[in-house]
Symmetry: C2
């Protein structure tokens, strides 16, 4: 069918969407969300409108206009696409069938080409979540996702990498681990993500110190020169399908593709030796040791099939790492620590995980010791070298890093010990303060688990760029207790009484 194009001055979040008159669609036997081929060239998903699109007219969003370089009123030809293999594969997965590598390739290919509509993608993610993925499926997805993306072109026999499954705020481990590993002589081309809902992603933190949006060739040059890099992976199209799946997974709060997602990105940088950080405990993504063990076993075994040596470190994940949350504050803490002003839990985490990498790459029999030496003696220079090569100021000091000017300090109302520091509440509080968008917003945590607190000691200091966000955070604190301090627990076993709603304990 030939149609006259009317471009809409609006994008469709990357999707190729064309809107037809309802009757034209019916004449072609098409319904909303069916697919057409435009000019025998581009697959597009249709919507229909009876009122706003005339017969034989088509409204196209910016994506289609740009790809086909269409002008207003230009004629296009559309043909219905009636059968669609990926759709059948998705249906099979919904019905509980294990998918073959070829089938996963077709799905991933269509995801990257934007040929699947949102309903199909959501159904696929939901089915993967409910039905689970077999080892064969995970490996098939990793291959398909790597093949449909770019790969870093770095020629080294050993390429080290590190990844955390996430979930713990304030985790600036990567910012120290990369310089430690790179200063050992190993190669570590680290790509990281930005935060979606968390207060900061590693790319957000590093961006405080230097540029993180580099082209593929620039990254290869940085790694060639310094053995390492710390860049945002999003600009590289390393596994574009993963980014597109995340766009569906994230609003649904479903994460069935944790392993393919992580390992496809490792494969895309040609990693040979990988340490995976699995933060575990109450308030972390992984709650129990047995869950952590199962996940680690899967990582190791799938790594083997993909020619990657993988080891996993299960780390204490029940409170934030170090004393800060928020891009600028965390970058400052990382810089302080690498300059010798240690946050000790951070140092232990960095040297433990770096140690694993140094051991599996045969750099050392006692990796943690070597890591600690490198951290103390060589990593700062290496960090500054990487900062410089990525386009930042190598002389940056912690004092150069600006922090939000609107502040509020929370003091303890009682003497006692810290028995809980809530990851979830602190992350939400940091979001309310403006993280990750407001980079100077964030939280300093003055007291952590087990520490002794005197009445009126500082517990938290909040930083915001904007007053109304500080006020919103203050309001949010009324329903929160991100740091719980108790004394004489044995005297206060009754914490609430109903119907009287008064809190007798914790918030007095």
């Amino acid at each position: 069918m030939r149609l006259k194009v009317r471009p809409l001055d609006l994008d469709a979040a990357g999707k190729t969407i064309i809107i037809l008159n309802e009757l034209d669609a019916l004449e072609l036997g098409l319904h909303p969300l069916d697919r057409v081929c435009i000019n025998d060239e581009l697959t597009a998903i249709i919507n229909t409108s009876s009122k706003f699109v005339k017969r034989r007219e088509a409204i196209v969003y910016e994506e289609i206009r740009e790809i086909l370089d269409l002008k207003d009123n230009q004629e296009i030809d559309i043909k219905p696409i009636m059968t669609f293999k990926s759709k059948e594969h998705i249906r099979n997965k919904i019905d509980g069938r294990e998918l073959e590598e070829e089938e996963l390739k077709e799905i991933v290919g269509d995801v990257v080409e934007r040929n699947l509509n949102d309903l199909e993608l959501a159904a696929f993610i939901t089915a993967l979540y409910i039905r689970g993925l077999s080892k064969k499926e995970i490996e098939g997805l990793i291959k398909a996702m790597t093949e449909t993306g770019n790969r870093l072109d770095i020629k080294r026999d050993i390429i080290a990498d590190k990844h955390s499954i996430g979930g713990v705020p304030g985790d600036k481990t990567t910012m120290l681990l990369v310089p430690v590993i790179a200063s050992s002589g190993l190669t570590i081309p680290k790509t990281s993500s930005r935060a979606i809902t968390s207060p900061a992603g590693t790319a957000d933190r590093v961006e405080i110190l230097t540029n993180v949006e580099l082209e593929k060739e620039e990254i290869e040059k940085v790694v060639e020169k310094t053995n390492g890099c710390m860049v945002w992976g999003g600009a590289l199209d390393l596994a574009p399908a993963d980014d597109l799946f995340i766009q569906i997974e994230h609003p649904l709060h479903l994460d069935p593709m944790l392993m393919p997602s992580i390992l496809s990105k490792k494969k895309a940088v040609n990693a040979t030796h990988v340490v995976i950080d699995i933060p575990a405990g109450v308030g972390a993504k992984i709650q129990t040791f047995s869950e952590a063990k199962k996940l680690a076993d899967d990582f190791i075994s799938i790594g083997k099939d993909l020619d990657m040596i993988i080891e996993c470190g299960v780390t204490f994940g029940e409170q934030p790492i170090g004393h800060t949350i928020g891009p600028a504050l965390e970058a400052r803490e990382a810089l302080n620590t690498i300059m010798g002003n240690f946050s000790y839990d951070l140092v232990d985490k960095v040297t433990s995980l770096a140690g694993i990498l140094l051991e599996i790459t045969k750099k050392s029999d006692n990796g943690k010791d070597l890591a600690f030496k490198l951290l103390k003696n060589k990593s700062e220079d290496k960090l500054r070298e990487i900062i410089e090569e990525q386009g930042g100021d190598p002389k940056i000091t912690p004092g150069d890093i600006e922090i939000g000017g609107k502040t509020l300090t929370i003091h303890s109302k009682r003497h006692g010990k810290v028995i809980r520091v809530s990851n979830a509440q602190l992350a939400k509080l940091a979001n309310t303060l403006g993280c990750p968008k407001d980079k100077k917003a964030g939280i300093i945590i003055h007291k952590k688990l087990g520490e002794t607190v005197k009445e009126n000691d500082r517990l938290l200091t909040l930083y915001a760029e904007k007053n109304y966000k500080l006020e919103a955070a203050e309001k949010k604190l009324e329903d929160m207790e991100p740091i719980v301090v108790v004394d004489n627990l044995e005297k206060y076993m009754l914490t609430k009484k109903f119907p009287e709603e008064k809190v007798l304990f914790l918030r007095t």
Copy 2:
């Protein structure tokens, strides 16, 4: 946040969608598909654009513009909606938890208010399909779906109704059953759907004879006067959630809500006695007797809880009903049959199902006999009465019904017996000919299962309104054999041989 509105001259298929600048969204902590409340009044789903929407600007689709009566450049206030109960319920269903009636009510309420985004709806449908629905959930959904819609206001002690789970083309049973039942003195306010992908829905067929898009009050008047009606349910908002669920289920080819969907519509017309047609067999929705029995048991038992007496008829579903497919052809066949020119399988199906209704309503101990008498003696007058009351010509004759002028007849290439008539292939063929949009398009089936065929006997006649559709159907026939005629089966056990791809049998 206050924003200036720019209305987009385009609808969003009924959804309330607002597009924000990406940075404004981030400032509010929002991501695509999150929800906002506009002017403390309307919940809307956001998309974001960095390029086409300026800071502090908002593009709204027609739905929002209309509901809030917005003008270009008008200021609106938006507030993020951060927690959303329905979303949590859906997540619980995904995780395999049975949902409570209250939770289903919240979901259905949000579906009707268009507060759930497509991803959430697709995830919900997929989860319902994979996890299944408990009896409690089915009943909860029916209640919620009925409560959120209109109900016909018909005051009779007994209200009969009929429904088919569908899947068999050419099924014009309802067009005869309604006049039969109404002429018995029982009340049967029948609402039907239009075809989505099938060649014809009952509303499409009836529309050939009379008007089917009536207002609620008009329908009540027709039923008051004639004891029956045959109208399109879509205009009535009887269970609007069902229609919205179907918009998601249909593109996914998932149908987890068969029972809530059917019974909520029966409840909305206050049906007290219902017969459910379950076509079964190879090529039907239900394949085996045990599946049919399970479905029937569920219908009966849930009906009991909802104060409906339900019986189910399992009918032979392995070939189309009667000899025609397509709205006009089927209306003509129905009219012919009611005038005494019987299609016998159709008559048997009508009288069997009507008989069940006459028995469960205590009209007769031998319902089928009574139904046959009513069909022969009274139903034509009743049909014409209903046609007239709904605004059609009561004197319409089969000859008045126009059929598509482009025709093609398919002849048998051999002598033998019909051993297969394919529902799926004939439905697809009818779609290719233009059904359901081209109402005069369709197929006459000259020979049915078990009939003897001589070489060159007519098997099918195809009708189209447009030549190119007839040609497309002819082309499609090259890969199809909708009617299979065989002779001396015992001599042709080898049907194909590979690598030589020649078909030795069936298509010679």
